[in-house]
């Protein structure tokens, strides 16, 4: 017997008016026929003629670079926005978790926010009351439920938000990157919850830049690029092809300013000691990674972490700088730009890598992009051809010592 379909997407396309979502709202004057703004309207196709099906109980991962249309796809599946063409169908309700703590109000207590947030995510009061203890348990915040959440730390805020989200039970679960916030232990807890949902036979659609968690949670993955499906198949295969194929030509990424973000990445690059971008980073040479942030809020003690994933999604490097390592950086007159440099000794074998960047303050994550920069480490000209093909994580300068030690 074939498994029934849970999600059907047919010829789905979505067109945005450029500036519509970026430059804010229009005023009446802008829409008058003689307005200058009305003349040069440009459009962007976020999704183009997308078609696929997801059988019931499958966990589908969606990967792709920023701006590939991943979030747009989720928003259409969850009916938050409508497609320009085509149709998406879900069997039962698709509950989307595009952010945590939606609707949280700082003046309300933890308990009041719990009920409000649950209602927003589609839980009835009866259902919340029935599972109240379970939710409070998961959050571990019994003592603080009557405290306004403006007095919560970021970690407490997240725990409350996730506790509610984890107890909503739509037929289809749609998750976008929310796991990226919070510390590693918390992320692990959330990934476990997702895997648990999967074992219960729920249909999951999961978007993430963290390729490792995609392969952990999903058996199948779709790679979106410019709104089209570039690859669709077993998640390990798709992730491998994605990391290998989609690296940037020049190992440098710059990001548009977005004043709405409290902490934002400006640029990430592989540079030489004098700060110029290295076009062809080579194996066997130290790798200088440099990253610039804008910090728009006062932060007591800044922690910064870099991670490097290889093409299989294995984390080869995860380094933290900050209070625990004796580094002191305080932002008390925001906005400030912060530059962080990390020199990696020559250990990485030739191959494609993804740099992840995290910035936080006293364990509270303020910013995370696990795909800040993709770069390729090239083999040395004198490397034998097969060296770069070998599967390995590290390739430091080793010293061989082989000799004959006499007859036996």
């Amino acid at each position: 017997m074939s498994v029934p379909t849970a999600i059907e997407v047919e010829g789905l396309s979505k067109r945005y008016r450029l500036g519509q979502n970026l430059g804010g709202y229009t005023t009446l004057r802008d829409s008058l026929p003689w307005s200058r703004r009305a003349e040069n309207v440009q459009y962007l196709w976020a999704l183009r003629d997308l078609s696929f099906e997801v059988p019931e109980g499958e966990a589908l991962g969606v990967i792709g670079p920023n701006g590939a249309g991943k979030t747009t796809l989720l928003k259409i599946l969850a009916r938050i926005t409508e497609p320009t063409q085509g149709v998406s169908r879900t069997r039962g309700r698709a509950g989307a978790l595009l952010d945590v703590g939606m609707g949280f109000h700082p003046e309300l207590t933890g308990k009041e926010n719990l009920y409000l947030n649950a209602a927003i995510l589609g839980m009835s009061r009866r259902e919340v009351r029935r599972r109240y203890d379970e939710i409070v348990d998961f959050a571990g915040l019994e003592k603080f439920l009557d405290t306004p959440i403006k007095r919560y730390s970021w970690g407490m805020y997240l725990r409350l938000a996730f506790a509610v989200a984890a107890h909503v039970e739509p037929e289809i679960i749609i998750v976008d990157e929310v796991l990226a916030v919070g510390d590693a232990r918390f992320r692990e807890k959330c990934l476990n919850k997702m895997s648990e949902f999967g074992r219960e036979g729920r249909t999951i659609v999961f978007v993430s830049h963290d390729l490792g968690s995609i392969t952990q949670v999903c058996r199948r993955a779709i790679w979106l690029e410019h709104g089209e499906v570039k690859a669709d198949g077993p998640s390990e295969d798709v992730v491998r092809r994605y990391v290998r194929g989609a690296f940037q030509e020049t190992p440098q990424a710059t990001f548009a300013l977005n004043p709405a973000q409290r902490v934002q990445l400006l640029s990430a690059a592989v540079v030489d000691p004098s700060g110029n971008v290295v076009d062809v980073p080579q194996r066997g040479e130290p790798l200088n990674l440099t990253v610039r942030f804008v910090v728009r809020e006062a932060l007591p003690l800044v922690d910064i972490a870099f991670s490097i994933h290889d093409r299989r999604g294995i984390r080869v490097l995860d380094e933290v700088w900050g209070a625990d390592t004796g580094g002191v950086l305080t932002i008390d007159d925001p906005p400030q730009e912060v530059e962080a440099n990390l020199t990696v000794p020559p250990v990485l074998p030739a191959g494609d890598y993804v740099l992840g960047v995290w910035l936080g303050s006293s364990y509270d994550g303020k910013f995370l992009d696990l795909e800040a920069l993709r770069f390729r480490v090239w083999p040395r000209p004198d490397d034998p051809a097969d060296v770069s093909e070998r599967d390995r994580i590290a390739q430091p300068a080793v010293e061989w010592n082989v000799r004959r030690i006499g007859a036996s």
Binding site: Y25, T26, A78, I80, R91, G92, A96, L108, Y115, L116
Partner: protein, 294 residues
């Protein structure tokens, strides 16, 4: 954790397609307006509307010194001002009622309408974060914005009762019609607030213009003066403002005085119904684009 089959969670869909051996299919395709399913879904989301209204109420009086007494202070202070200006200095006719009572009765219902229209107009823009990240029938936002004001109105109403007792005013049988006028005020607020909410998403001019328009509306309504100032055929023009009938009717019910005229009331009723229908249709036509525009 067992996937229970009996969940009371609202089941959402705009176009339900019945298929053999499956549950309900929820579809998302371009350009769906109002439908029976969409209206049923609105009912399914009544708990969310309640949650929004409760949130507004809870937030409003947190960290305020006077707390809930603001619900009374606001109309009382306005009435004091108007009593000095219009009651003492100008001396407008008040259908035989003490000016304080006349003005206060009109003021508490007017404040309900103006506060509800203002908060409905801002409802979608203020929940921008939600509108772009969660699905819910968008109409829930402006509708729930009309609810919290009722609580303020009821609190202020208690003071009105005290005033009536103090001045020895005994209402007649029309007192029984009071809920009807309050309901009419709610309908008026919704009829004006819903299209404004949708318009505000697209054109933020609404927020700028609204305070001015509300001020005009206040003086086009019998709050500080009696509608007996308007005579002849002008009465019908005056009745195009539904609040002229609603406020007169409310005052008639609680404090006596002249009843609103039958044909004028009909004009007001037609205006409210037309506003409601066109407002809902307009909202339905543009609501799907909110997340992309707001």
């Amino acid at each position: 954790m067992v996937a229970d089959t009996e969940r009371e969670r609202p089941r959402a869909d705009t176009t339900a397609v019945e298929r053999p051996h499956v549950d309900r299919w929820v579809e998302n395709r371009p350009g769906a307006g109002w439908s029976a399913a969409a209206l049923r879904e609105l009912w399914d989301y009544r708990e969310l509307a309640l949650a929004f209204a409760l949130k507004t109420l809870r937030v409003r009086y947190k960290q305020t010194v006077f707390g809930v007494s603001w619900a009374v202070l606001q109309p009382v202070l306005s009435v004091m001002l108007f009593t000095i200006v219009f009651g003492r200095l100008v001396g407008v006719p008040t259908d035989g009622l003490p000016y304080v009572v006349f003005n206060y009765a009109g003021m508490i219902l007017w404040l309900y309408v103006s506060a509800s229209v203002t908060s409905a107009a801002q409802s979608l823009v203020e929940t921008r974060e939600l509108v772009t990240k969660v699905y819910f029938p968008r109409l829930v936002a402006p509708l729930s914005a009309a609810a919290p004001g009722i609580v303020d109105f009821l609190i202020a109403f208690v003071i009105l009762v005290a005033m009536l007792v103090y001045y020895g005013i005994t209402p007649g049988w029309a007192l029984a019609l009071t809920p009807l006028w309050v309901l009419a005020a709610v309908a008026t607020a919704v009829a004006v607030g819903v299209p404004l909410a949708a318009l505000n998403v697209q054109y933020r001019d609404v927020r700028q213009a609204l305070p001015l328009l509300l001020q005009l509306w206040l003086f086009a309504s019998p709050v500080v003066y009696s509608s007996s100032l308007v005579t002849g055929a002008w009465q019908y023009v005056y009745a195009l403002n539904p609040l002229s009938t609603v406020l007169d009717g409310f005052r008639w019910s609680v404090a006596g005085g002249p009843a609103p005229g039958g044909s004028e009331s009909l004009v007001s009723l037609v205006v409210v119904v037309v506003l409601l229908v066109t407002g809902f249709l307009y909202f339905g036509r543009v609501q799907r684009s909110f997340p992309d525009v707001v």
